[in-house]
């Protein structure tokens, strides 16, 4: 059997008796790999030092990757539903790994634009296709625990940075010499390793046979969930207010978290000047990563019990209160309270990502959930630009107007709390999809 025919959806249908618990590790192999994107910033300082490219110019690599993630997820989602997850994962592996290799050529030839095209555009396509591919498959394998299943995969995306950052540092240390920083070797090895890991995931994944359901599982008629055979078509979904409300819910939740995540190290050092050293600030960032990852699994699993809408109500209500308390923690000089507030905030940031696919499948059915999820991820692209801009611009504005560094983030925290209140309102407006949008399988 040729490799191309193995990518066929028909060849990835599971036999009866297949153990569905083999799907989460296949999904994790993909998400743990592409989650490296969150750790790309570890290359910024060495690239700046060795090649002379400015930090803002280097920042564009990540921004292009996130924009391409949203676009490729939106465009590729329909293809994923038609041709199955294996082909999409295979292409994601080639694009993500290839992005590293093209970037390595860019370093060898001192061409920054090749890093934009390589890690940014090509890698970004790998990110988008890789992100959405396992999600709809998991929802179909775990109709009884949709939140937990997708949370497990998306937890991998949060955890990927924990592998990617120390791996990059270790490889650069190993290969650096007196006249080169070892980044090219790191890129080549990481590109190869991630391609292999993602290919393992691609060939391990299976889709359930038509009509399959877990043993003993009988779908209960639940008021806020579509029946298994009903769905909203992906081309119809953007005509529903529910899609745009969830788009706003994701965008606002991510905007509030992503800006803070990027500035966490600088923020804690400036708010507690003199008492928090750079190493402790790096520890703070590490702690936030753990909560970001853990929140993805914990909150999405909880959503199976209390419902998706209620889970987002908690994110937005509790998140707004926590953000509003941050300036108080700073004024009190309480590092433990400050750390606790941010840890909880970041757990809900991760939880927001992980709970959205199950929320979509409840409202629009499981048939096109991968494609619909892909289109919703354009909200992430916008938030990836908005969040850092708000945090950085407001900090600079405050400093320019004579506000002390320790208080420079206070207004930003109240703005973030305001964004979450807006998110609360959007989530409260989400109702069942109108019957005229819903189709049923014959």
């Amino acid at each position: 059997m040729s490799i191309l025919s193995m990518l066929d959806k028909g060849h990835s249908v599971a036999d009866s008796g297949f153990n569905r618990w083999l799907i989460p590790p296949a999904a994790l192999a993909i998400h743990l790999s592409i989650g490296q994107a969150y750790a790309f910033s570890v290359f910024n300082a060495p690239l700046n030092k060795a090649y002379g490219w400015s930090i803002p110019d280097l920042g564009w690599i990540f921004s292009i990757a996130i924009v391409c993630l949203g676009l490729s997820a939106a465009i590729g989602g329909k293809w994923l539903e038609r041709d199955g997850p294996r082909a999409a994962m295979f292409l994601a592996a080639l694009c993500f790994g290839g992005g590293f290799l093209v970037s390595a050529i860019g370093l060898q030839t001192h061409q920054l634009w090749l890093l934009y095209v390589g890690y940014g555009a090509l890698g970004g396509v790998g990110l988008g296709l890789g992100y959405i591919s396992p999600v709809s498959t998991l929802i179909k394998w775990f109709p009884d625990r949709r939140g937990m299943a997708t949370g497990m995969a998306i937890m991998g995306f949060g955890g990927g940075a924990m592998i990617g950052a120390p791996l990059a540092v270790m490889l650069m240390d190993k290969f650096k010499g007196p006249d080169h920083p070892g980044i090219i070797e790191a890129f080549v090895i990481m590109g190869t390793l991630y391609t292999l890991a993602m290919l393992i995931g691609a060939f391990a994944v299976r889709v359930p046979a038509e009509g399959w359901k877990p043993e003993g599982f009988e779908p209960k008629p639940v008021a806020d969930k579509l029946a298994n055979t009903s769905y909203v078509h992906v081309d119809e979904v953007h005509k529903t207010p529910q899609f745009w409300l969830l788009w706003a819910v994701l965008c606002l939740n991510v905007t509030a978290g992503i800006g803070v995540l990027g500035q966490a190290s600088l923020m804690i050092q400036e708010v507690f000047k003199g008492s928090i050293a750079a190493a402790a600030a790096a520890g703070f960032v590490g702690l936030l990563s753990i909560f970001n990852m853990g929140g993805r699994f914990a909150w999405s699993s909880l959503s199976d019990k209390i419902g998706r809408k209620a889970t987002y109500m908690v994110f937005f209500a509790l998140g707004a209160v926590l953000y509003a308390l941050v300036p108080t923690a700073g004024a009190m000089g309480s590092v433990p309270l400050f750390v606790l507030l941010y840890a909880l905030i970041l757990s809900m940031y991760g939880g927001g990502f992980a709970t959205i696919p199950a929320y979509l499948s409840d409202l629009f059915g499981t048939r096109f959930v991968g494609a619909i999820h892909g289109r919703l991820l354009t909200a992430w692209s916008l938030a990836g630009v908005l969040g850092p801009v708000i945090v950085n611009y407001m900090r600079d504005y405050q400093l320019a107007h004579g506000v002390a560094k320790a208080q420079a983030y206070n207004t930003t925290m109240y703005v973030m709390a305001g964004l979450l209140v807006l998110g609360f309102i959007c989530n409260a407006c989400v109702k069942q999809v109108g019957a005229h949008h819903i189709q049923s399988e014959a």
Binding site: P166, I200, A277, A282, G283, G286, L287, S289
Partner: protein
């Protein structure tokens, strides 16, 4: 190779690097509390 062994290998391939990464992160996080 039996399905059970394949499954265990697959879980090991993803959990071992994750455990290594989490350990590295926890070591780094300790600096916050020292």
């Amino acid at each position: 190779m039996s399905t059970k062994i394949k499954g265990l290998l697959l879980w090991a391939i993803v959990l071992l690097p994750l455990a290594w990464g989490v350990k590295q992160t926890i070591v780094k996080t300790m600096a916050l509390f020292s």
